[in-house]
Amino acid sequence: MSLVRQVFGKPWIWAFLATLATFVVTILFTGGASTVGLAQAALTFGAFSVIVGLGQMFVVTLGPGNVDLSIPATMTLAGTLALKVMETQDGLIWLGLVVTLLTGLVIGIANYGLIKLLRIPPIIATLSASFIVQSAAIWTNRGIRIKPPELLAQFSTASTLGIPNVAWLALVISVAAWVALERGIYGRFVSAIGQNMRAARLAGVPVDGVRFATYVLCALLAAITGFLLSCFSGGAALNMGAEYLLTSIAVVVIGGTAVAGGFANVPGIWGASLFLFLVVSMLNTYGASAGVRMLLTGVIIIGVIVAASRRPAR
C-alpha cells in the first residue's frame, strides 16, 4: 500500500501514465503492428527532447523569469559548425565534438554575461543573444547541406540491444543530471536559488557561480543535441532547432518541474518527452491534421500548468 502511495506521490508519475495510455491507444488502433517501430521512434525523438529539456530544466529551476530562449539557435549553429569542420571524414569526429562543446561554452558564457552585465532578465538576454547566434548559423550554413561523417551517421541512427543509440546517450546524460540534481551539491544549490535567491545567498550559496554554470550547461546540452540531431538527420538544417524552443519548455512543465523554480525532476523529462511525441503520433494514426496536433499540445501545456498551480506546494 505504502509503496503504491509513494509511487503515485511522485510528480513524474502522471507524465508516464499519460505516455503509457497514449502508447496503448495508438497500438490498439494499429492492431499492434507497429509496436516496436513506434517505441523505437518515440525513444529516438524523445531522446533529443530529453537532452535539451534537461538543460532547460536546470535553468527553469533557478526561479521565476529564468528561461533560455537561445536553445534553437545554439542547436543549429553547433550542428552546422561541427559538420563543417568534420568535412564528412571519420578521422575528424573529435574536432567536431570539440567545436560543438566550444560553441555551447561560448554561447553559455555570452548569455550569462549579458544577464549579469546589462542587468536584464534572462529571457531578454538569451533572446538577443539568440538573434546573433541565429545569424551566425545562417551565415555558416549558407544552404549547403554537408553530410555527417559516415561513422557518426551510422551511430546516431543505429540501435544497441534494441534501443536506439541516441536514447542510450540521453539515458547516460540523464543519469548524470539526476546524480547532480539529487546527490550533488550543485543540485542543492540550484534548488536553493530557485526557492529564494536572497535566502540562498545569505546561506552561503555562491549564487553567481551556480547560475553561470547552469546557463553554460544548458547551452552545452543544446549544442550536443544539435550535433546529434544533424548527424541523425543527415545534415544540419537551418530550422532544425525551431521546434525545440517550445518543446524544451513544454517537457519541463509537463514533467513536473516547478515553473516557479526550486524543484526539478529528471524522470518527468523522459515521461513528458515520450508523451509529447506519442501524442503527435497517436493523432497522426487517427488521421488528425497538423493543426489539431498543435492545438492539443497547447491545451495540454496550459491544462498541466493550471492543474499544477492548484498544488499546495507553494
Binding site: Q195, N196, A200, L202, G204, R314
Partner: protein
C-alpha cells in the same frame, strides 16, 4: 471639545495576538475631531498593530471599535476610507512609474472623464503648496525622479487631498523621517492648522521634540498596553523616555570581557565619514540597537556580502548569517528540515561535488539534539515547524558552519520565551568558546545581554556603549533624536 463629543474613531479593550506574541493587550484609544494625538513607544510596543486596526487592515481578536460614535461590527479599509480616514505609511506606497498627478488619480476614483488631468494636478498642487510652500515639485514628473524627501512630501499631501468627501483623520507614521528641519517644521505647522480647522491627526514619531511641540495629547505604549495617556504639556523629553522604558530591570550577569578589547578585529566596517566605525573582535557578543529600519539589517548584509562567495565558496568562510525575517531571508520553503539546516555546511561535507549524505544525517541529528528542534522526523518540511523551531533550524545552520563570526538579524522575532532562553544560553557558550556574534535586536533585554552595543539612527552608528554603560535609558536616548536632524 470643539465638534461635539463623539470621537472620530475609538477602540476599547482591543486585543490582538500573533501566535504567542500579544501585540495588543487590551488597548483603549480614541481620537476626537480637532485633536492631534501623539503615539510613541519603542519597537514592538504595538503602535503599528494599533494603526492597522484603526485603518481596517487588521481586525482585533476582541474589543470594540466605534466610528463617529457608532459601534462597528466589521471594520474594513473601504469603510475607513469612507469616513475620511487616511494613513501615510513609512514604506513608499506611490507608484514610482507614474507622475504626481497620475498618483493622485489612482488615489481618487472620482477623478475621471474629460479634463481629469487638470483637476488632479490642481488638487495635488494646491495641497502641496498649502503644506510645503515653495516646494518646487513639478507635478508632471514621475515619482522615480524625486528624492526620498520629495516622495514623502507628495505622499503626505496626497493623504490630505479630498475629491469626494472630507478628510477627517490622518495617521502619520514617521512623517518627518526623511524631511529636513525646515520641511518638518512646515508639515507640523500645517498639522496644527488642519487640527485647528476641525481635523484630527495621529502623529507617530521617534523625534520626541516634535511630538511634544505639536500634539495636544500623547499616548505612550509599551508591550501592547497603553502605559500613559496625558496632555502633552504634562510631559518632558525625560519623562517620555522614562514612560517608554521600564523603571528597573534586573540585568543578566555578564562576564567581564575587557580582555577582548586588546585583541585584533575579526570584522570591521568603516562608516565613510557618517557616524562611528564598526569593529568586532573574537569572542565578543556585539549588539546592534536603535529603532527598527535604521540601517542595522543593511549593515549586517553589507558585512556578509563583503566577504565574497558570490562566484565560488571561499575556502575559509568567515561569516555566517542568521536571518530574522524567515520568509524573506531565511527559509528555503520547499525543503526538509535536514536540507535547510545543512545548506551552509554543504561545501564542508561534500566529496567530489557529491553530498555525503551520511555525514549530513550525522551533523543534523547532532544539532537536532543540541538545539532541541521539536519534530519527530527531520525529513519533515521546514514549514511544518512552528516559527520558533524554524528559527532554531536557522541558528543551527549558522552554528554548524565553521565560520568564526555569526551575524544575526533580529532572529527572535515571533519566537516564544522558552526557545529564547535556550538560544541565549547557547550563544553565551559559543561566545565563550571564541565565536563572535553580531546581534541586531529590537528587544531591549537582548541588547542588554551584549558585551558591547552600537546604537543606530538614520543609517549610521551614533553611539557605542561598552559593558556597564549599556542600559535601556542610554540606548533609548541615543535612538531618539530630540529634534529634527
Amino acid at each position: 471639545m470643539t465638534q461635539g463629543d463623539n470621537p472620530v474613531i475609538s477602540v476599547n479593550g482591543a486585543r490582538k495576538s500573533f501566535g504567542a506574541v500579544h501585540a495588543l493587550d487590551g488597548v483603549d484609544f480614541s481620537v476626537r475631531a480637532g485633536e492631534c494625538v501623539g503615539l510613541v513607544g519603542h519597537n514592538g510596543a504595538g503602535k503599528s498593530t494599533l494603526v492597522s486596526i484603526l485603518n481596517g487592515g487588521l481586525s482585533p481578536d476582541s474589543g470594540t471599535l466605534a466610528l463617529l460614535g457608532r459601534p462597528v461590527e466589521r471594520h474594513s479599509i473601504a469603510q475607513a476610507r469612507s469616513i475620511g480616514l487616511r494613513c501615510v505609511f513609512q514604506e513608499l506606497s506611490l507608484c514610482p512609474n507614474l507622475t504626481v498627478t497620475e498618483n493622485t488619480r489612482v488615489a481618487h476614483r472620482s477623478l475621471r472623464g474629460f479634463g481629469w488631468r487638470g483637476r488632479a494636478a490642481r488638487l495635488i498642487k494646491d495641497k502641496l503648496d498649502e503644506i510645503f510652500p515653495d516646494n518646487g515639485i513639478d507635478v508632471g514628473r514621475s515619482i522615480s525622479g524625486f528624492s526620498i524627501a520629495q516622495r514623502q512630501m507628495i505622499e503626505i499631501a496626497t493623504a490630505f487631498t479630498s475629491s469626494d468627501g472630507s478628510v477627517r483623520l490622518v495617521v502619520l507614521d514617521e512623517p518627518t523621517s526623511s524631511l529636513d528641519a525646515g520641511l518638518a517644521g512646515q508639515l507640523l505647522t500645517f498639522v496644527r492648522r488642519f487640527v485647528a480647522a476641525g481635523g484630527a491627526v495621529v502623529l507617530i514619531s521617534h523625534i520626541l521634540g516634535e511630538v511634544l511641540s505639536t500634539t495636544d495629547r500623547i499616548v505612550v505604549m509599551k508591550d501592547g498596553k497603553v502605559v500613559a495617556d496625558r496632555p502633552s504639556a504634562e510631559f518632558s523629553t525625560e519623562s517620555l523616555v522614562g514612560a517608554m522604558g521600564s523603571v528597573v530591570r534586573a540585568r543578566e550577569a555578564r562576564a567581564a570581557r575587557d580582555a577582548a578589547a586588546s585583541q585584533t578585529a575579526v570584522l570591521s566596517h568603516t562608516s565613510a565619514g557618517r557616524g562611528l566605525d564598526f569593529v568586532a573582535r573574537p569572542g565578543e557578543l556585539i549588539g546592534l540597537a536603535g529603532l527598527a529600519g535604521h540601517g542595522q539589517t543593511r549593515m549586517l548584509v553589507d558585512l556578509y556580502m563583503a566577504e565574497g562567495g558570490s562566484w565560488r565558496t571561499p575556502a575559509a568562510r568567515k561569516v555566517a548569517f542568521v536571518a530574522g525575517d524567515r520568509a524573506v531571508d531565511g527559509n528555503l520553503p520547499l525543503w526538509s528540515i535536514v536540507k535547510n539546516m545543512s545548506v551552509t555546511l554543504l561545501p564542508e561535507i561534500a566529496r567530489f561535488g557529491l553530498v555525503d549524505r551520511a555525514a549530513e544525517a550525522r551533523v543534523t541529528a547532532d544539532w537536532h539534539k543540541r538545539i532541541a528542534v521539536r519534530t519527530e522526523n527531520m525529513d519533515n518540511p521546514i514549514l511544518s515547524l512552528s516559527g520558533g523551531n524554524q528559527q532554531k533550524v536557522l541558528f543551527a545552520r549558522a552554528l554548524a558552519s565553521p565560520a568564526p563570526v555569526v551575524l544575526m538579524d533580529d532572529p527572535m522575532r515571533g519566537v516564544d520565551i522558552g526557545t529564547k532562553h535556550e538560544v541565549y544560553a547557547m550563544l553565551r557558550a559559543e561566545a565563550a568558546a571564541g565565536r563572535t556574534f553580531v546581534w541586531y535586536s529590537t528587544e531591549m533585554d537582548e541588547v542588554c545581554q551584549c558585551d558591547r552595543v552600537y546604537v543606530f539612527r538614520e543609517g549610521e552608528i551614533v553611539a557605542e556603549l561598552v559593558g556597564n554603560e549599556i542600559s535601556e535609558e542610554r540606548i533609548l536616548s541615543a535612538s531618539f533624536a530630540e529634534k529634527a536632524a
